[in-house]
Subunit: 325 residues, 2 copies
Amino acid sequence: MRQTRLDLGRIRAARQVIDPVFLGSPLYRCEALEAVLGCAVSVKLETANPVRSFKGRGTEVVVAGLPGGVGARAVVCASAGNLGQALAWSGRGRGVDVTVVASRFATPVKLERIRALGAGLELVDGDHELARARAAEIARYDGIRLVEDSLDVETCEGAATIGLELVDGGAEFDVVLVALGGGALATGVGQVLKALAPGVEVICVQPLGAPALTLSWRARRVVTTESADTIADGVAGRFPIPAVLDDLLLVADDAVLVEEASIVTGMRMLLDHAGLVVEPSAALGIAAVLEDRERFAGRHVVTVVCGSNVDPGLYRRWVGRGGTR
Amino acid sequence: MRQTRLDLGRIRAARQVIDPVFLGSPLYRCEALEAVLGCAVSVKLETANPVRSFKGRGTEVVVAGLPGGVGARAVVCASAGNLGQALAWSGRGRGVDVTVVASRFATPVKLERIRALGAGLELVDGDHELARARAAEIARYDGIRLVEDSLDVETCEGAATIGLELVDGGAEFDVVLVALGGGALATGVGQVLKALAPGVEVICVQPLGAPALTLSWRARRVVTTESADTIADGVAGRFPIPAVLDDLLLVADDAVLVEEASIVTGMRMLLDHAGLVVEPSAALGIAAVLEDRERFAGRHVVTVVCGSNVDPGLYRRWVGRGGTR
């Protein structure tokens, strides 16, 4: 049988090197949401930590694994904002120089936080894929470690510790909904569930406007897109990584695409019925339920609320006015 | 030396009977808030659980301690909404009949959730103090247990487990800010800190519009007020309980009053800089910092974010428009 690049033993070991502030995140039923969604809903809340996203789990593993030499203690990554923030946090705590390359169109608060955490920030005049290319260039030129989200197995195995916590939680659930961007979260959580709770359906959710990895999963080969157009900035890639796709094909049961309007409604529902501020990527799971209520009716769904780094002004516009009854 | 009614051994034991979903709540630094507040700020987040407030810690202890006989397995409480919700949750899980008495002016979403959790709900045509009197009447008439928030030591000792987690967290902090209502949270957290981290200043915060327990603490005798007028519905009592005041005098270092406008600004700051939805009571700590920046400058403050049960419409009005830079 084919295997993913991820390893359960290493995922368990990852828990030992990740700062506890990122571990043991809340997992609980949101009954007020259930009434409006028609299925049991639990939330795995990855926003109540110093970087307001799950990415700290992965960057802690990356930085803990760096060799000790002074020259070796510098890293660069491309980021839509959350990885960069997490890497900056982990690097600062462990004396590692961090450079983050981002699109100049990235969410301003994310960029601000990266700077505030002491990382070097370079902006490129293009989208996330251009930032990725530029980060690779810096790594080559400076001879430092390039941290590639989802390709570097530490980022997947760090995210996979969420899966361990879901399984340890002892809750009986039928479905896990995970946001699909580069694939680290989906392959990580999927790997653990397929190994330890194979009866649970792992469904990846991506915006219709940035569908590259979903289309690839469906086609079983890499499909790229010309553009990525979604408010869910955290998952707006266009060039899926072949090795990640291979893993995803082994651990995901489905990959679905959702409309922007559903993402906004999901954000509003999480505010009104769960009291949670989320960034668009973190509402993808609820959006998936909204678009296919029948599929989830009567089942117990866990949605990973993966980040809350939103621009306050935009957030007010998205959730402004009106209830969601 | 005088002692409070609370006992550290019983507080430690309480952790064994409280559903883990309420324990180990997130405790983390919010650096984005620090930049605007001028002091180090950590949040102890008590909203990421099935009842969206810290009250479940206390109600779990209450319900776990009920005798086993069928007649004994019914309780009644007065509540502004959060205690009732938590008691309803704990009662449902352990086969205990719960009746909640509330003011008909209580926050509608709180009342809805109490009903949805299967508790009986009786509304009185007056404020929280009338609800307390009516709950006592029901208890006498029906011969069932009256759960009195803050008077019943289980409610204080349940809340006190937050104090244990603050101390266990190992963080170096100088000040803990707690919302002051009936006093359970303040005496509970205060008790633990005075015992295990006596160098930490315990500051209670109450709205200027509902100052009864603060005035009592300052006068060292019970002071009641004619009315309570604040958006912080969770802390709007008028008749302090003498035994609770006695405890508070032993464990609180200070009790301060804040303006309504500061509470609203605090809510907005927690949204904009921490991505947290909070009810007004949970913003009291930030409000206290805002009103006396000099007192906290350069210190490390922990604020207990004690609840997030807000009416979505009101919440939008409170935090609507404008940033908080």
